[in-house]
């Protein structure tokens, strides 16, 4: 179902994500104030009661994720949002959600860290989001929009993914995407509901249901883990998403996601204006990582430059994907700083100068 408003409107990222969730049929929202995501909470505080749906400003991010666990276990469509320090507090609850297979969408509008850090934009929670977040052996799909319009689309996709695979899903944004305003043509989508024959509703005319993660029998818990891992392999098989720009003839390729990819796009244009054939590979899902597509690209690319608002996190997954097929360089800024396009053009030129054409490359990259 779509309720498309055809005209372009100017929307702030946090508010756009919130309204996209309302339009996607979100039944319950729980949050706690933290910069730079507070407008998301404020938007929901007004809109959810208007729609007769649940909104609670929790006592903490721990409270918010716990409320999401409770609401999600009844089959409701649930969202929570936070920023980095609060994301740490949600790790426990997300592990329980993964273990007991409760769907929910968790928005992290990242800010500079570690610790209290800054309120500027950052991508410093990459490892935390992509490598599982909480304790235990689990994975969480991570969707990384690079524009406000894309963030709105990905909200509906995130609910769909969460409910299809009974898993929490992370929407990973940053301080710029949250705070900036952009013109968008809202194209809302309310994904179809699935039959939640596992959800809690009261044992009325049926045997009681139990939603839990505890199993003290090692054999049984291993079987549960095997089932979770099979689910993750299935998500990897169907779920990896990426977007490419100017890749057909690119000699040097930037890999970047989210707001860093926006800067990279400008850098690619500048580099091309200066005669350097650059391109952009942008993962839209950070887990599952679009490894196969990137590996194929790297085998015909002179050099790869990883651009991130972190000190070198994304680059590890890029190297794992590329497996030496091409040289990999990194350019990271931290603390709320963002590189300029000209910084990146300079980094591209250095990468080009330090490498040789693909045709002359020796070793496994050929």
């Amino acid at each position: 179902m779509t309720a498309a408003a055809p005209e372009r409107v100017l929307m702030k990222g946090n508010e756009a994500i919130a309204e996209a969730a309302v339009q996607a049929g979100c039944d319950a929202y729980f949050g706690y104030p933290i910069t730079p995501q507070a407008e998301l909470l404020e938007w929901m505080a007004r809109r959810m009661p208007e729609e007769g749906r649940a909104f609670v400003q929790a006592e903490s991010e721990i409270g918010a994720i716990s409320m999401a666990l409770g609401a999600g276990a009844t089959g409701a469509r649930v969202m929570v949002s936070t920023s980095s320090p609060g994301f740490s507090l949600m790790a426990e609850g997300m592990s329980y959600m993964a273990g007991s297979e409760v769907p929910a969408v968790v928005v992290n509008v990242m800010r500079g860290g570690p610790g209290l850090g800054s309120i500027g934009p950052a991508q410093a929670d990459y490892f935390q989001a992509v490598k599982g977040h909480g304790h235990g052996d689990y994975r969480v799909p991570v969707l990384a929009p690079s524009s406000i319009a894309e963030a709105m689309e990905l909200v509906a996709d995130a609910f769909e993914l969460a409910e299809r695979f009974r898993t929490p899903v992370i929407l990973l944004a940053d301080g710029i995407l949250g705070q900036a305003m952009e013109p968008v043509v809202p194209a809302y989508r309310n994904p179809d509901r699935r039959d939640a024959d596992w959800a809690l509703s009261g044992a009325d005319g049926r045997p009681p249901r139990v939603v839990r993660s505890l199993d003290l029998q090692a054999e049984a818990l291993e079987r549960h883990n095997d089932r979770l891992q099979a689910k993750y392999r299935e998500i990897e098989r169907v779920g990896a998403r990426w977007a490419g720009e100017q890749l057909d003839d690119a000699e040097v390729v930037i890999v970047a996601y989210g707001i860093a990819a926006r800067v990279a796009r400008s850098a690619v244009a500048m580099a091309r204006a200066g005669g350097l054939r650059a391109g952009l590979f942008r993962p839209v899902t950070l887990w599952p990582f679009p490894s196969a597509a990137l590996a194929e690209l790297a085998s015909r690319t002179r050099a790869v430059l990883v651009v991130e608002l972190s000190a070198g996190q994304l680059i590890e997954d890029v190297r794992l994907a590329i497996e030496g097929r091409s040289p990999v360089f990194g350019h990271g800024r931290t603390g709320g700083m963002v590189p300029s396009p000209s910084d990146l053009v300079e980094a591209l030129r250095r990468a080009w100068a330090a490498t040789e054409p693909v045709e002359e490359r020796r070793g496994p990259g050929r």
Binding site: D27, A28, F30, A54, V56, A58, E59, S60, I62, G63, A64, S66, M67, A68, L69, G70, A71, G72, A73, T74, A76, V78, E92, G93, Y96, S100, L200, S201, G202, A203, D204, G205, P208, R209, V210, V211, R212, S213, L214
Partner: protein
């Protein structure tokens, strides 16, 4: 020798509550959890709440409550049951939502969640079983342990200067306007068990009558954690009430 059958059929004066599964529990011999489970099952049965109950199991000995109570269950993180119950209640306004928590869970790691569920006047009912120790992990100091109580983490006894004082959290919760019912009972004697059941019923009615948050603290025994026989531990409950007096601290259920 055969026993002659009575001339009239025997009259049933006690039976297993419908909502209590017919199986032996994992609880230690003499533990009070079995009694409290029975009381909860009886009250839910009598109020006809079973088919719409969604209960939240908390971390601790009673995390396995879902093995014994015949209702839907969700297992919460340690201490978070009141927040988890809040999430359920807000999207299932027709459900009867209950948490079953121990004193380590509710009065230590979960203080923020229980206080704010009460502050919001959340329409949930909390059964709070206080046995003054962390039974499941081996009998360590709980915030509720008595002064002088020997535990595995206070081997010389609880010293107020080092370990602080017992926490009267139910009295604290009774101060909050969102709390419609707060009381403390005990499984110490058959008469007290009967009173505890009446308290549980009232705490459930705080929710069904839409009055606010309801909590019953039930003083219970932990023979293994206390290093006592079951009989000694039950007798000891008569001393526990010196620190935790029994009674109803607030009852706004009847108010309009």
């Amino acid at each position: 020798m055969t026993i002659p059958l009575p001339e009239a059929p025997a009259r049933v004066i006690a039976t297993r509550p419908r909502l209590l599964e017919d199986r032996s529990t994992h609880y230690c011999p003499g533990c009070g959890h079995g009694v409290v489970h029975r009381l909860v099952a009886e009250v839910l049965d009598e109020l006809g709440l079973g088919p719409r109950t969604i209960a939240v199991a908390a971390v601790g000995c009673a995390v396995f409550a879902y093995e014994y109570l015949h209702v839907d269950f969700l297992e919460a993180q340690h201490g978070r049951a009141p927040a988890v119950a809040t999430g359920i209640r807000r999207v299932r306004p027709d459900a009867f939502v209950m948490t079953y928590q121990g004193d380590g869970d509710l009065a230590a790691i979960g203080t923020a969640e229980i206080v704010h569920a009460a502050a919001r006047g959340e329409r949930i009912t909390t059964i709070f079983v206080n046995n003054g120790t962390y039974g499941m992990t081996g009998g360590q100091l709980a915030p509720t342990s008595l002064l002088g109580q020997r535990t595995t983490s206070t081997p010389l006894g609880r010293d107020a200067r080092l370990n602080g004082y017992p926490l009267p959290i139910t009295e604290m919760l009774a101060l909050v306007p969102g709390t419609a019912y707060a009381a403390r009972g005990s499984v110490g004697t058959p008469a007290l068990i009967g009173k505890a059941k009446a308290m549980i019923r009232r705490a459930c009615e705080a929710q069904t009558e839409d009055r606010g948050f309801g909590i019953v603290e039930i003083l219970s025994n932990c023979p293994v954690g206390w290093g006592m026989t079951p009989v000694e531990s039950i007798r000891h409950l008569a001393e526990v009430v010196d620190t935790y007096p029994l009674g109803v601290f607030v009852d706004r259920v009847g108010e309009c």
